[in-house]
């Protein structure tokens, strides 16, 4: 067992991506093949007469498969209809059979044998058609009614060598030409069928291989950040070309290097994972940024025994390890199939893995903090973890006293990300957590919304917003947070307030950081917990920067509030000017009671009383004034105060205070007279 806290299989303990137990077992006796229906996210295992299907969206290993019986026969491919009421099975290159799961109705679709053959088929949710059948002569689009009658709607005539389709992109690419590098694309989105401009893929030629041919395994359709990319392997050049699809154009967007003769891709949380199968490493790319540099160094995919990476689960790890080690997991063995977007099917062991990212490991290996924060802020799958990591990074940056410019950059990243997510409506306050959980922000789960949203999910000029598969909504439920965005309040609470104690001796630095933070949130027109202003006052007063404190206050960098005013009064114990700032703030905020009390406390009882008289404030204890005047030994003042108070407070003349001080006044004045 490696020294790492996790049970792992692989050449090393370090990894940025891992698969973990429990896996989804699909070991059915007499299995004749495993299929994956990416539209419904079903793993399908067929025997001679039965179809077992597992939901992979929730990835619950304990889920029992649903079983359907179909007539015996060869199965080239199998797909459930989108409403899962029918099963379509391709029996041969000219025959597709349909079975209604409830009515057991059967229908057979055949094409003209000899002149054309069926390459494959898929179900579609486009309003135009429900089923697309790709043949060597082109693509037939069929509408299918509830009685499973197929009606040919449209035929797209193209010579097709092979095709690829992913349901998440709703995009089908038809390859033609001798080298299979001429690509015709259609998007069968809910907005209709869009024909993409024909484009040629890039292929390097060498002397030994002047006419390389692209095979379907060399082309991958991926969807990240709602954009659709096509990745194409160019073995001669050892490059993975990327193409991005726009509504009216296909643009090649750079290439990634290849280090293996065999490779596959997965997409996890909008990140592209390129499995260099020969080298047994995985390289992670974030296509969001223009740079085509990998997010992290190539590291092997790791196998972890137990979900959760904390060491406390070590004991359980060992328990499960024994059972899994029997399966003899070999990383990247021949029989692995990479399923869209993030599943790996181990045909040998008949298990299904989901690929996970280790955000902690990635963040630990990255040195550029602000781009790391940007990276983490884009993570949705493990939003909570990403958020905690971001907070931790921000804290560490400050505690390590990194140059202010660096910290500023980091704060800017977090604030902009938050502002963006608020504007986009992704961010929900924590108090709405329950509602977030029940109605995931990805509304694609409900069919109505899917229609509505999907209308906009066609290939767009600028950004293609795609419906994420409904499965991701469930995953969001798990982490409860839909976005790692950190609100200014949380930044204050978990970053600034938590480092204050440790940084109190370096308050200059902390104030500079807070200023940048305030600037950043003000630029985004956000608000923050006013305790940060109280804290700023405290820090400035601590380092005796009174001039700046008054600048901050007069320029309203420190927003006025009762709490700030009281802190100013408190810090003003050392400096009268600061105390005055606090008093002024109280007055400007019309906090009459506090203002008057503070004035009296400072010995300005006449001013206080005058103010009370003017503003008709009666909440301040009258004895405060009287005692202050009596203490100052000025009987004229005392008399004046008594008079004003009796005007100000109804019934004051009947109170004991009045008698007490009136008596005192009489005594003193008579003694003077004597």
């Amino acid at each position: 067992m490696p020294s790492s806290s996790q049970t792992s299989v692989g050449s090393g303990a370090l990894s940025h991506a891992y698969i973990q137990n429990p896996s989804l077992r699909c070991n059915v006796p007499e299995s004749r093949g495993l299929f994956y229906d990416d539209a419904n996210r079903l793993l399908i295992c067929v025997t001679s007469s039965q179809v077992f299907s597992w939901e992979t969206a929730t990835f619950n290993p304990d889920v029992s498969p649903s079983v359907d019986s179909i007539p015996e026969g060869p199965i080239l491919s199998i797909r459930f209809s989108l409403d899962k009421k029918a099963i379509a099975v391709q029996r041969s290159d000219c025959e597709i059979q349909f079975f209604h799961r409830e009515t057991k109705q059967t229908l057979t679709h055949k094409c003209r044998a000899g002149s054309e053959s069926i390459l494959g088929f898929f179900w579609s949710d486009s309003p135009l058609c429900d089923l697309a059948v790709v043949k060597t002569s082109g693509m037939d689009l069929f509408a299918c009614d509830s009685a499973m009658n197929l009606r040919l709607v449209e035929t797209k005539k193209v010579n097709v060598n092979w095709y690829i389709y992913t349901h998440e992109s709703r995009l089908v690419l038809l390859a033609s030409g001798l080298q299979c590098k001429t690509i015709t694309g259609f998007q069968l989105s809910t907005a209709g069928v869009v024909r993409l401009p024909k484009f040629e893929m890039t292929l390097a030629t060498t002397e030994s291989n002047s006419k390389p041919i692209i095979s379907p395994g060399d082309v991958h359709l991926i969807t990240v950040y709602g954009r659709i990319y096509c990745l194409q392997v160019d073995m001669e050049a050892m490059l993975l070309h990327t193409y991005r699809f726009y509504r009216d154009a296909v643009v090649q967007q750079g290439s990634l290097p290849i280090y293996s003769s065999k490779l596959s891709v997965s997409v996890v949380d909008n990140l592209l994972l390129v499995h260099q199968i020969d080298a047994k490493v995985v390289i992670i790319y974030d296509l969001f940024v223009d740079s085509r540099a990998p997010v992290s160094a190539p590291l092997p995919l790791l196998w972890r025994g137990y979900q959760g990476s904390d060491t406390s689960s070590q004991q359980e790890n060992e328990g499960t390890e024994s059972s899994t080690s029997n399966e003899n997991i070999v990383m990247y063995e021949e029989a692995w199939t990479f399923l869209v977007p993030d599943l790996i099917l181990d045909q040998t062991n008949k298990v299904l893995w989901r690929v996970h990212l280790d955000l902690e490991a990635i963040s630990a290996s990255s040195s550029d903090r602000s781009s790391l924060l940007e990276f983490l802020q884009r993570r949705k799958l493990e939003a909570n973890k990403a958020k905690q990591l971001c907070l931790g990074i921000a804290r560490t940056l400050i505690l390590e006293r990194r140059p202010a410019t660096q910290v500023t950059q980091a704060i800017d990243v977090l604030v902009t990300a938050y502002s963006y997510s608020v504007k986009a409506g992704i961010y929900k306050e924590l108090k709405n957590e329950k509602t977030t959980a029940t109605t995931p922000t990805n509304d694609g789960a409900s069919p109505d919304n899917e229609r509505g949203r999907a209308s906009g999910s066609s290939i767009d000029e600028e950004e293609v917003e795609m419906n994420l598969p409904s499965g991701s909504a469930d995953e969001q439920q798990e982490s409860q947070l839909s976005s790692p965005a950190i609100s200014p309040d949380e930044l204050y609470k978990f970053v600034f307030a938590s480092v204050e104690e440790a940084m109190v001796e370096e308050s200059d630095y902390l104030v500079a950081i807070i200023t940048e933070f305030l600037r950043s949130i003000s630029a985004e027109k956000l608000k923050v917990d006013l305790n940060i202003y109280v804290m700023t006052v405290r820090l400035l007063a601590h380092s005796k920067r009174f001039a700046e404190l008054s600048l901050f206050t007069t320029n309203k960098i420190i927003e006025p509030s009762k709490e700030v005013a009281l802190q100013l009064l408190e810090s003003g114990g050392q400096n009268l000017r600061v105390r005055k700032l606090g008093l002024d703030m109280l007055r400007q905020l019309s906090l009459h009671h506090e203002y008057i009390s503070s004035l009296v406390q400072d010995g300005y009882y006449l001013e206080a009383l005058r103010y009370a008289q003017k503003r008709k404030v009666t909440s301040v204890r009258s004895s405060l004034f009287l005692e202050a005047a009596f203490a100052s030994n000025d009987m004229q003042h005392l008399a004046a105060i008594l008079r004003v108070l009796s005007e100000l407070i109804p019934g004051f003349k009947e109170t004991s205070e009045y008698y007490t001080f009136h008596g005192l006044l009489n005594e003193t004045s008579s003694s003077v007279a004597v």
């Binding site: 200059d508 600037r519 003000s522 320029n555 009268l576 005058r610």
Partner: protein
């Protein structure tokens, strides 16, 4: 008490022709050549001016005997008529509805009733001063009048030259420099005598001003036992009416600027007890400073025309919150330009302060210097070599070329090699010595070729290097601690590089933001009002633009000047901060209003003849509410 006061004032002052006033102790004295009178009294604001003008011409000789009788009479009257003698004098200008029932806008005067001993003292003073004047006359002091200069300014050290024959040792600086030693000695001798004498009664604060018939002597104890005295001639011209406090502020300013560049006078004296060092520094410094005050060939002191201005304060630019945050962000970057040691910075836009990390005192000094020499306005006034008039101010600076033969003792002629490090005297206030370099930093050869200026920060007691950077109208003054500069100019250029590297983007942003919000020279003009707002705590002031103040009638300005004098007197008398309100109806029916509350002062001139007192106070009220956050709203 008010009535009694007036009669007292009249009786004691009636004997005096001109009146001379020791501000702190209120000795009133008339300085006619042969006769010396001492007394106590205060001008009533309302009757003061006409009374003064009325009496200006009548310099009838009165005998000393005459005065003594009157003074004695007055003293007796006071003693008998005041039932409860109070030790200090109170002006009931305080608007206190609690004790007075109704706001009393007029200032009442009350004479002090001082202990008998002081009366004796005053008699003594009379004799002493008489003696002084006789001596002075013999020494040619009287020739002062005939000398062309209307201003004398001297700095002397009371601890020096205590022995006979060594009196010259006291003198550290004398302006004009070409007067004879005997004249210098006579001025200083008189001043010293007055200081010594008034200290008998007020050891803490000796006299601040002596008003003689033709001269005002303004005193300022810059450092313990180091005095600066300004003797200004009162001529017939009405322009020569000034406020003593304003003159004192000139002395304070020149001293604190000197300290900022050279350290305290005492420290230089300690460095070289012969005094050569301090003299060689003071002469060029003060003459350079005075250059700024000269118009043509005459020095122009701050007269009543500048009564709505406050020297020794900072004028600030009002910032919107987002601009302020940008500025603070820039300040944060500047702070860390020299590595771990924190730099200080002062940022100006045009001639207004935008931000500072220094204490108010240091800020004022650096601000004053920057406005004099560094800001874009100061630099651009130097570019046109024939017109040196500063735009928008009545203060003008004259080319050092034209005045230097007259005013300036060229540094070459000064004793050199007197122990100063470089063997030459640095003249930080020299004109036209700063230019903007290619990299945006302002450069000067005042401190030597490629040498970076250093200044002394009062509050932190440390010496710092001064770097100034300019982007259009934005001037940044960066103060780098000397400890951060180990390798001299190499480290300086590193800091400069850091500034350019890290702060340029922010500087451009701030400059753009401020320019966008810049309201021009008249940004702080409030129509209908001519005002001066002073915050003594922060040493900040704001005033109507001088162009607008210039539209006020002379009478109004004189009334405001008088009003300010009154407030000055009252302030100097009470240590504790007091609220007060004074309204004066000037001869031209304008209102001059002062409100003072807890360290903040508002002076205002309202020239609307039809306004009643209530209208005027309402105007002040609404001004206070709108522009001062209600600070001066007193009801």
């Amino acid at each position: 008490m008010g009535n009694e006061t007036k009669s007292n004032g009249a009786s004691s002052l009636g004997g005096g022709g001109g009146g001379f006033r020791a501000k702190m102790e209120h000795y009133v004295y008339s300085g006619e050549k042969k006769h010396v009178l001492a007394g106590i009294g205060i001008f009533t604001v309302i009757f003061g001016i006409p009374w003064y003008l009325m009496n200006r011409g009548s310099n009838n000789h009165r005998s000393h005997q005459d005065y003594m009788e009157k003074a004695d009479k007055a003293r007796k009257a006071r003693l008998s008529s005041s039932p409860s003698p109070s030790s200090d004098n109170q002006i009931h200008a305080v608007n206190d509805p609690l004790t007075q029932g109704f706001p009393c806008p007029y200032k009442h005067n009350s004479a002090m009733s001082e202990p008998v001993a002081q009366s004796f003292g005053l008699c003594l003073l009379g004799f002493i001063l008489k003696g002084f004047y006789e001596i002075l006359e013999a020494m040619g002091m009287a020739s002062m009048n005939s000398s062309g200069e209307s201003l004398k300014l001297c700095v002397f050290d009371l601890r020096r030259g205590q022995n006979e024959g060594q009196e010259l040792d006291k003198i550290l600086f004398f302006y004009p420099p070409d007067v004879t030693f005997s004249t210098q000695l006579s001025v200083i001798g008189l001043s010293e005598g007055l200081i010594t004498f008034t200290r008998l009664f007020s050891p803490e604060a000796a006299c601040e001003v002596i008003e003689a018939e033709r001269h005002s002597h303004v005193f300022h104890e810059a450092e313990p036992d180091i005095w600066m005295v300004m003797v200004v001639e009162k001529n017939k011209e009405i322009e020569a009416i000034w406020r003593v406090d304003a003159l004192q502020k000139v002395l304070k300013e020149v001293h604190s600027l000197f300290v900022m560049f050279h350290g305290s006078i005492r420290s230089l004296l300690d460095k070289e007890p012969s005094g050569g060092l301090i003299r060689s520094h003071l002469y060029p410094f003060i003459t350079d400073y005075l250059n700024d005050l000269s118009v043509g060939k005459k020095l122009q002191l701050p007269s009543f025309r500048e009564t709505l201005k406050e020297r020794g304060t900072v004028q600030m630019l009002t910032l919107a919150r987002d601009a302020a945050l940008e500025v603070q962000s820039l300040v944060g970057v500047l702070d860390s330009c020299a590595g771990t040691l924190r730099c200080h910075s002062v940022i100006l836009f045009h001639d207004l302060l935008v931000s500072t990390t220094l204490s108010p005192d240091d800020t004022v000094d650096l601000f004053t210097f920057s406005v004099m020499r560094l800001t874009s306005n100061a630099l651009s006034s130097g570019t046109s070599s024939w017109s040196y008039l500063r735009k928008g101010t009545s203060l003008s600076q004259t080319s050092s070329k034209s005045t230097s033969p007259q005013l300036l003792v060229s540094s070459d002629s000064l004793p050199s090699g007197n122990g100063h490090d470089a063997g030459r005297v640095i003249r930080p206030l020299q004109h036209n010595k700063w230019i903007k370099g290619k990299d945006g930093f302002l450069v000067t050869d005042i401190w030597g070729k490629d040498a970076t200026p250093t200044i002394w920060l009062h509050q932190r007691q440390e010496r710092v290097h001064l770097l100034a950077y300019q982007q259009k109208c934005l001037t940044l003054v960066l103060l780098v601690p000397t400890e951060a500069i180990v390798n001299g100019e190499l480290d300086i250029s590193f800091v400069k590089h850091q500034v350019i590297e890290n702060a340029t983007a922010k500087i451009l942003k701030v400059e753009e933001k401020l320019s966008k919000g810049w309201g021009g020279e008249n940004a702080y003009h409030v129509s209908g009002y001519r005002y001066l707002l002073v915050d003594n705590d922060m040493e900040v002031s704001r005033a109507s633009p001088s162009g607008k103040v210039a539209t006020l009638a002379k009478e109004t300005l004189l009334a405001v000047n008088k009003l300010r004098e009154t407030v000055d007197t009252e302030k100097s008398r009470t240590k504790e901060e007091k609220d007060m309100e004074i309204c004066i109806r000037a001869k031209n029916n304008a209102w001059a209003i002062a409100r003072v509350t807890r360290g903040k002062e508002l002076y205002m001139a309202l020239e609307k003849a039809s306004d009643t007192l209530l209208d005027a106070t309402d105007s002040v009220q609404s001004f206070s509410n709108r522009y001062c956050n209600g600070t001066f709203s007193m009801d």
